[in-house]
Structures are given as C-alpha cells and as structure tokens.
Symmetry: C2
Subunit: 360 residues, 2 copies
DNA sequence: CCCGAAATTCAAAGCGCTTTGAACAACACA
DNA sequence: TGTGTTGTTCAAAGCGCTTTGAATTTCGGG
C-alpha cells in the first residue's frame, strides 16, 4: 500500500493559508511573518511534506542534479580511477543536497546528449571527464551555456573555463630526475593512453626530465595503454626481455605497478634492489588499508601522490559553487603531487657496481 | 550564447495543429492519421524538438530514472565490486533509455530518502545493494510501493520480492570440498563482512564443506572484514604465523587474494606449491586483461567465477521490466558460480610427504 | 481617530507536458 | 436527405510548484 503524501495545496488548505505564503515560508523568503513561518514549518514536518522535484524544477528551471556523461567505448564506469573520483564527487553532492546522474552514451550521441541536458534542465551542470589532447566537448559546452567543470585540462592554450588538474608534467619531471639522481640511466615509462591529455603531459615531464639529466630517449622503453594491472605485468616482462633492460620503471598508476610487482616476483626479482619502481598514485581507496598502523609504515611503493577521490570532491564543489553563484567567472586549480619515497626505489645497481670497481 | 529550443506549444503552432495532436503523434498513439504523423515527425526533427523531462514527469508521474541509494558509511562507491556492478547496470539503463541516479546518504536518512523517492516520482525504481542478514529496506520498500530489485537476498525466508543472487553457499561448499579432496585439512577462510548476507552464506557453505569432509572448524582460521587488498595481506601473514598454519586459504574476493600473493611472495613462498589459494572471483573488469592471449592461458588463481558486471546488467533489466510491465509478480534468479582451476591450488604438501613416507 | 507606509497575505498566471471529453469531418448506409 | 459510425482533431483541465501584481492588514504619527 503506497504511502499518503500531501502536496502544497493540501498543506496550505490545512493551514488556512494560500499556497504562495506556504511556499514562501518554506523557502525562507523574508516577507512572511515569523509566527506564520513557524506554523507552516510545524505543519510541514507533521504531514511530512516534501515538494515534488519535477514540479519544482518545471517551475524554477533548476533540478539539483549534476550530470556525468560516460562514453560507452571508454568503459570508464569500470575503472577504479573513475569510480574513486565519482565517490568523492557524490559525497560532495550529498553534502550540498544534489544528486548525481549518470548517462552512458554511444560516442556519436555525446554531443546531442549535452544539448538535451542543457535544454530546459535535465541537469544543472556537468563534469567533463578525461579530456583529450584535442577536446571538442569544451567549446561545445561553452556554446550551449551549460555549466561545467573539467577534471583535467584540454590540450589547447585557451584555458578560459573551470578546471582542476594535477601538475602531471611537473610530477613526472621530478620523478624522472629523482630516478636519474639515483644513478639510473635506463628509465622506462609505462604510460596511460596518450590521447588523454594527462598522459600526454606526463610524457612531456618524463622527456624533459631525461633531457635535463642528459639521458637519451629510447622509444623501446615507452608504452602507452589503458592503466590496468595486466598491462603493467606484460610491459614489465617485455622490458626485462630487452637486450639492455631498464633499471627503473615509471608507472602511470598503481594498478600497472602492481602488475609489475607480480612480474618481478615471478622472475625472482625484488622491487627496489633489482629494479626500481616509481608510480603515480591516485590514492585509490580500495588499496588503502583501513588499519592505521600501515600508514605509519614506510610505504612499499615510491610514488607521486595525489588523491583522485579528493579531486572528485573538489570538482563537485567547484561546479556547485558555479551553479549557485551564477557567476560567469572561471576557476582553475592546479594541484601538486607529493613525492613520497618508499621501498621500491634504490640506487642503480649497475652504477654502484661500477663505482665499487672504481674504488677498489 | 544558449541554444534556442522549441517547446510543444511552439511546435504545434508552426504546424497549425493542437498540442494534443502533436503530442499524440510523437508518442505513437493510434488515433492520429499517418499523414499528420509524418508531418509532425519531420517538423520535430527539423526544429530538434525534445520534450522537457520535468514537464513530462510532472504530467505522467514517470521519470525514466533508476535510483541507487548509497549509505555514506559503506563507502561502496569506492569499492571495485560495487562500481563494476554499476557499470553493468548503467549500460543496461542506457540501452533502455533510462538514467542512473546516485544518492549518497547518511545511514539514518536512508529510510526517509526512499520515502522521498517514492513520493511523486523522483525515480521509477531502485536497486537494493548489499542486503544484510537482517534487511530492513525490503519490507520498507514493499510498504511504500516503490519498485525495486535486490542484488543478493535478505536473510529471512520470505523471498517474495525480485532478486538476483549468486549461490554463495553452494560455491563455497564446492570450493571447500575441492580443497579437502586435494588433501588439505587446515583450510582458512578470509571472508567478507559477515553482517552482509552473502558473506554469511559463504561461511555456511564453508562450514558445511568442512563438516562433509569430517574436518573440525578452527575459529583461528576464519576472518571477516571488508574485502580490500591489504586485508588479504594481513590475514595471510597472521595465518602463517600460527603454530599450525593453514595449507590452503579461501578468499571472498580477488582483492584480498592479491594481498595474499604479495604476502607469500615477501615470505618467499609460492602460491600453489607452498600454500593453496582459492578465491571467489567477481570478474572485476579492471583486472581482466584486454589481450585475448591471456584468457587462453591457464589462469593464475583457482576461482569460483561469476561476473558482477553481468549481474548489474541483469538486475537493471529486471527492474526496468518490472517498471514497464507494471506487473506485481516477482522474479528470482540464482546464478551458479563456475569453479575454474588455475595454478594457485595443488595437493597438500604435508599429505604428500606423509604419503611418500608411507610408501617408502 | 484617520492616513499613508510598511508588513503580510492572496488570487491567478505560468512552467511544458499529457489526457479527458467533446467537436468536427468524412463516409457508408438506409 | 438524414443517421449512425469511424476516424481525426481540438480546447481545456490538470500535474505541483513558483512568482507576479494586487489586496489586505497592521501600525506609528499627525
């Protein structure tokens, strides 16, 4: 048996007031006397009154819903980086009284979906995920006037929209130099898909780092794929089979880095002492231990850290602020990743060996 | 510059028809002549007409949105099992023209949120995640008359609602017997949280399996926690430190099983030959390799397999069917997990040793 | 005690769609 | 020519809320 609900009309009849007054009392307008407001609030609570979202949004044009459009081909939903981001965002939405709407679309529908969203408010705004080096969604959204915040940046120089990004270039530059300073000369890069702008920037940082330390780029030491565990496993095995294997490997995510750990363990090699591993770490929640003791420990993997969960939270906040302030001005945030040294990096063995030789 | 859109009124004025006729032509009602329908369809396409979702849902009471309520405390969003399920569901929604709505709530709000959802349609139905042994949401949803499908089952015997579940009991029974038949007498269980009904059933299967093979239950060999990687790592180290360590370990998910692999590798032990590992495998997408070659291989972990992604898809389909058919009858599906033998299980060493002794 | 301003309250229109009940046209039949 | 039928179209009401512009009440001061 479905529950009984009162609507605004019934509520106002019970109170002997007009719908106008009741609506205003509920929405905190100033032109209603305090006495009436209290009466209305009490009655609303008693009858458990809730306004109908569709009616409200039809009347106001606002929905309190944020859209996330996910292209089918990317399968982003099933990617832990994506879902961690979404976890952070959804918590921020909850705090602000918003809902998250997810629409999976075929690539070619994407544009028309954004237009639909803009049309009399399916959502109040959208988050743009995983911008490409050349990102068409940004001009599109600007032209249709739908509020949006980008997680990452597009490739162009026109950054006149709101975004939040991690300084990928800087992080990979530092990481590369860090490894070079440990004596490594053959440093491999297990990158994400380089059509993604973030991966593109990571590569730039890596190349700049090598150049800064006078190391030649070796294309055989670079791979670019979707960041999953088996990818890291395969790439590592492949690198180790080279005539001149790398002594250090940089990873775009903890997932492929875990694959590398597996590969090394199968080959009887130890991370750190045998091959140095350094990874970008999005602080994926399901890999963090619940136990406090663990975090006090020296971490296993040396990593550039930046929480993607927090990024999701912040992007959501930025978008909600943009929507509610109705201001046209854009906000940009560039986060620095921290470089945390763990047990998976060590001075280059070959180098120490040759040093030892020199000394003796 | 925001785009221009036509609404139904403008469209019908252009056509010199009434809103009624246009609306009916668009929605495929029979009482409109074929000639007019074609004209209307053409005009709608030309002007790129899209009905306003809020207006439609205000008028019809249907929203084409499915709700997922996620308690904050569970942090399910950041759990790969959960997001894989959501990935499957969202694809099914997309195919049927539905959207997915996610609302993160504080535990104590949960009930009132469901009531709100039911109230004049915030959503057309909801999916119930992770039912507990004693699940209050089921009677609640039945009483408020909001369509729902449960992923899993509640603990009670009154199963008169729609659900889809994996036969956890059966799977863990088989797995336990399988290990016992390899000669293992000390089999540990790294279970999920046993307040969850699925974990409860897995434990039952495990206990039944032990009993069937005449093995006594040892509480020191059972743990119950959230299924993350570090949990498996810790649990394994803890087991191996026992005076009488287990020779085989059952895991509730690949994640803790991966932690176990890490632990073993650190101790210089090999899965299979030293300790047998057998895990429930939800076929988490981000752990599957994209390469076809890999799947032709013998898998590394011996596992009970059932795709949680497909479960999400199927649950979504069931719910949409329930909503669209408006029928009151419930549907239940119980899926069997397949037991796939990999390299992480082997006959019990101690047993072979004693057998060898006997022979000599 | 009355008047104008300020403080409250209200009736009604509108948001964009669906749907009811009636009107109208077309047609066959007597 | 009139009547009943069928096929098409329409005007208007309604979904539940917000908001405009007008009406009503309250109150301090002349």
């Amino acid at each position: 048996m479905p529950e009984k609900f009162v609507n605004l009309k019934q509520l106002s009849e019970c109170l002997g007031l007009s719908q106008t007054t009741v609506s205003r009392a509920l929405n905190g307008f100033p032109e209603v006397s305090e006495k009436t407001r209290q009466r209305v609030l009490a009655a609303a609570a008693e009858f458990n009154y809730r306004p109908s979202p569709s009616a409200t949004s039809l009347a106001t044009g606002r929905t309190r819903v944020i859209g996330h459009v996910v292209p089918l081909s990317f399968h982003r939903m099933i990617n832990p980086h994506f879902s961690d981001f979404m976890g952070g965002a959804s918590e921020a939405y909850a705090r602000a009284g918003y809902d998250m709407l997810i629409r999976v679309v075929r690539e070619e529908e994407e544009e028309s979906v954004y237009r639909d969203f803009a049309r009399r408010n399916r959502v109040d705004g959208v988050v743009v995920h995983g911008p490409l080096v050349d990102e068409p969604r940004i001009p599109l959204l600007k032209s249709i006037g739908l509020p949006f915040v980008v997680h990452g940046r597009g490739g162009g120089e026109a950054l006149d929209y709101s975004w939040l990004d991690v300084n990928s270039r800087g992080a990979f530059l530092r990481a590369t130099e860090f490894l070079a300073d440990l004596g490594h000369r053959r440093i491999a890069l297990v990158n994400g898909l380089e059509t993604m702008n973030f991966a593109h920037r990571r590569r730039q940082g890596y190349e700049t780092g090598l150049a800064a330390r006078g190391i030649d780029l070796d294309p055989a030491l670079i791979t670019s794929e979707d960041m999953v565990e088996p990818y890291g496993y395969r790439a590592t095995l492949q690198f180790l089979a080279l005539p001149q294997p790398p002594t250090a490997i940089l990873f775009s995510s903890v997932l492929p880095a875990m694959g590398a750990v597996r590969a090394l363990s199968e080959m009887g090699l130890r991370p750190g002492s045998d091959v140095s591993l350094l990874t970008f770490d999005d602080r994926l929640s399901f890999l963090q231990s619940g136990a406090a003791s663990q975090s006090a420990d020296i971490p296993f993997l040396t990593a550039m850290r930046s929480s993607i969960w927090q990024a999701g939270q912040r992007v959501a906040e930025m978008l909600i602020h943009q929507i509610e302030s109705k201001s046209e001005d854009t906000v940009q945030e560039l986060w620095e990743a921290e470089l945390v040294v763990g047990r998976s990096t060590a001075p280059c063995k070959e180098l120490s060996r040759s040093l030892a030789k020199e000394v003796s």
